[in-house]
Symmetry: C2
Subunit: 498 residues, 2 copies
């Protein structure tokens, strides 16, 4: 009999590109998503939580024409009775599942169908710093509403979301553009060849990076990039490139000026005129609800996603400055984007159904709230009731029960109580605002000691003697006053922390 | 050139055994989990959200010794540069990831580590009615606390959770047992053979179903089941089976009586005595915090999981009656269970680390809240502002903006407004409490019509003429009073619905 080899110990780590979230990372995100949910619901949107797993067939793009269709997605084949079953995959976004759900239930769902969805998605990509293979998305879409009133509504809702999670008015700007205007510009240029149109679209996508002069070069003969490499151009004549440049730089001092510039840029194109009309209608609808250009603005320089969307396109940017990793100030940048895409369920049903929606970058928005100090920083830990005498455990438990009934996070130290220093180190590691201490002497005298740990830490650092005298970091109070005194300490440390 | 075959349309359905959750199904669960989070945090527990994907190696049990290790889990192999990479799998519970996370971060995490986790898990099992391959779990565990004070704390927390989500005191009972007591009973019986011990454990697991007489038969010669099939017995002598029966039926009129019965059942076994002491200590700790036997009770008839756990075992049952699918009354039954398991991370580190925890059946608890009417039933839909004149869209949008600013869910009808009946059908399908109607005549006179849809539906069914006169289902109000009047209607329909 072969000797059974003892299995080596497994590595205690998640797969490459995956990570865990601890404590405040989880609860802060949940709170933010809860606030977003409230806004979405106020706008009449309904929650949808689709399954994390879809058939590869329903997801599309990743058809099983190769042995393993895991290009970009995590996929596997079901083991059927006969052996080979369906290929399944983890969803890579929340839009593909929406298409499947709407196609499946279109006769039972209200039309228009406003839905929001929040949850993890998975990408089978090479992980990198800050680039994970599982991350959150948070989407809201309106399906079956062809009118731009639906697009305007999404923009207004996005503004409300940003303000309700804690971004101040003035610290964000939602910029709106329209793919139809760009199509009009391409018509005005007389471009007929699809390959050439695509090349122009790709060039426009680089406007953010290379600017006006760069776009001119790339539409013409070509351009040398920073590394010295030469990028071939589209090969248009300088005059021919002008409508594109005019389009990208048509933002005026107000909506009326911008719209006039755009009308000029699209020339005689009907598509272009329709696009400008749509932008004009969006601006009017938003103004009537009180969303002026200080919050939502028509801005033809928004190009991200213009290739993908079919009508209005929008992007939310945070305009306040943060310090980048090299210590230089820069704008925080984009936290959400979306637009209109008009063939959501065609793959399933053969019918084109219009849809428009927005996707919020959950991690980016949470990082922004941290950067502005709107989340984080508070003393979040529980009050720790230390254990001086094992035999008194029931009495310590009664203390935490009282504290909890008063709404205060509290726990008894449940490790080995022998080394008292370890108990205080534990409280420190938990970020506890206070520790409660009671030994036999305290029990006899009917009192407890309360150690103010936040104040204690501050005093250890930099408090003046006056502060120390005025509010010593450890006080003795009658047992009956435990809850009242702890509440005071927790309240004051919350004030200082926030 | 070969003709490209057009791909058939994909089926619009989720994979077998998966489902989607809509609207209130999502938000009600989220609210319940939010309330549970509050209780967990009040007890000092910290959130942990581990990755949904783990290496098969870290999950254990499912080692890649066969071609595809997807027995019970959804698994796939990473495509490395060299071809074959790690086997990855979706987590099948929240305990295996806790073990991996604690082993990985044990030097940085506080000890004891109290953590809670909520989220979907996946099982690659044959789906059936009401049996899905993705479902929610909601766990709380304390790692690194050997004392039964940790177990008592989990029981108290479970009671608080049930009451805070809306189960009334008296409608639930948490029953506590202890594996060590059972081990003592097995010792007292003189059982040495592990196979025989396992057979006794399996028999005990059936106590719920077969009762005292059934257990006696199954421990002895065997038993004919309802279908007439004969189940082989363990083959013990009748006297030898008595300690097990005594153990299972040792619940007395109060804790003291139960504990005395248990002491008799374990005879001279030290392990058994230690187990009884632990139960006694748990009862004392809970009593000192005000959790009496009307909420948490020592009950040796709790056998579910006794084979898996190593110390205290607990189960929460809802004691109110519901009507089963055949119209017969029955107790709602179990909604949560847990216990102590003392080798959580040994696979990773070689060291035994004690742990105790509870898992709440999310779907079961939510169903219970529905059964008691604590969730569901309210008018949840948005107020729908109908569109009589397309050109007035900005004015309709201004109305919903006002309603939303007052905290009222509201939306403009964004479908094709041509057929007004469709707009009211849409409002009906959304469960709207009210529809707002304004055409050119109303705009000229500065008024709006408000249709009370909940009242309208009631009147259509069964209202008296007096009710109709007193509160007609459609009223005309000045435009300036829109918000105030809609608020009244929404408030009254909430009252009636809840």
């Amino acid at each position: 009999m072969a000797k059974v080899k003892k299995a080596p110990r497994p590595r205690a780590e998640p797969p490459k590109g995956f990570r865990d979230y601890f404590g405040a990372e989880v609860t802060e995100r949940a709170e933010m998503l809860g606030r977003i949910t409230e806004v979405y619901r106020r706008y009449g949107f309904e929650a949808l939580e689709s399954s994390a797993v879809e058939t590869v067939e329903a997801l599309g793009k990743f058809l099983p024409d190769v042995d393993r269709p895991n290009e970009g997605v995590f996929a596997w084949q079901e083991a059927d009775e006969d052996g080979a079953g369906d290929w399944l995959a983890l969803r890579y976004d929340l839009t593909a599942p929406l298409a499947r759900v709407y196609a499946q239930h279109r006769n039972d769902l209200p039309t228009p169908y406003r839905r929001f969805a929040m949850g993890p998605v998975w990408r089978n990509e090479k992980p990198g710093p800050g680039r994970f293979r599982q991350f959150y998305q948070c989407d809201a879409d309106t399906v079956g509403a062809p009118s731009v009133a639906a697009d305007a509504e999404i923009c207004a809702m996005l503004a409300d979301v940003l303000e309700d999670v804690g971004i101040r008015r003035g610290d964000y700007l939602i910029r709106v553009n329209n793919r139809k205007v760009l199509n009009g510009v391409l018509e005005a240029m007389g471009l007929e060849d699809d390959a050439q149109k695509d090349a122009v679209l790709r060039t426009i996508d680089k406007f953010d990076k290379v600017g006006k002069a760069g776009v001119r070069e790339l539409l013409g003969a070509g351009r040398k990039d920073q590394s010295g490499a030469f990028i071939d151009g589209v090969g248009l004549m300088p005059e021919q490139a002008e409508p594109v440049v005019a389009f990208l730089t048509s933002k005026g001092t107000d909506s009326a000026a911008t719209l006039a510039n755009l009308r000029a840029a699209v020339g005689a194109s009907d598509t272009g005129a329709a696009g400008v009309d749509e932008l004009s209608e969006i601006a009017d609808l938003l103004a009537s609800q009180g969303y002026g250009p200080e919050r939502i603005v028509i801005d033809p320089s928004v190009v991200r996603g213009l290739g993908y969307y079919t009508g209005p396109v929008f992007e939310a940017e945070l305009t306040f400055e943060i310090t980048d990793e090299k210590g230089r100030p820069r704008q925080f940048g984009s936290v959400a984007g979306g637009g209109r895409y008009d063939d959501l369920v065609k793959r399933f049903t053969g019918q084109a159904v219009p849809a428009t929606g927005v996707s919020i970058g959950v991690d980016r928005l949470l990082a922004a709230l941290h950067a502005t100090g709107r989340v984080g920083g508070q003393a979040e830990g529980p009050v720790v009731v230390t254990v001086m005498e094992r035999a008194r455990m029931a009495e310590y438990q009664a203390m935490v029960a009282e504290l909890r009934r008063a709404g205060i996070r509290a726990e008894v130290y449940l490790g080995n109580p022998k080394n008292f220093g370890n108990q205080l180190k534990y409280a420190d590691r938990r970020g506890s605002p206070a520790a409660v201490i009671a030994g036999s002497e305290e029990f006899e005298r009917g009192v407890v000691q309360i150690k103010d740990l936040i104040l204690g830490a501050r005093i250890a650092e930099n408090a003046t003697l006056e502060e120390w005298k005025e509010r010593p970091s450890q006080v003795e109070v009658p047992r009956a006053e435990l809850v009242a005194r702890v509440r005071e300490i927790v309240a004051s440390s919350d004030r200082e922390g926030s």
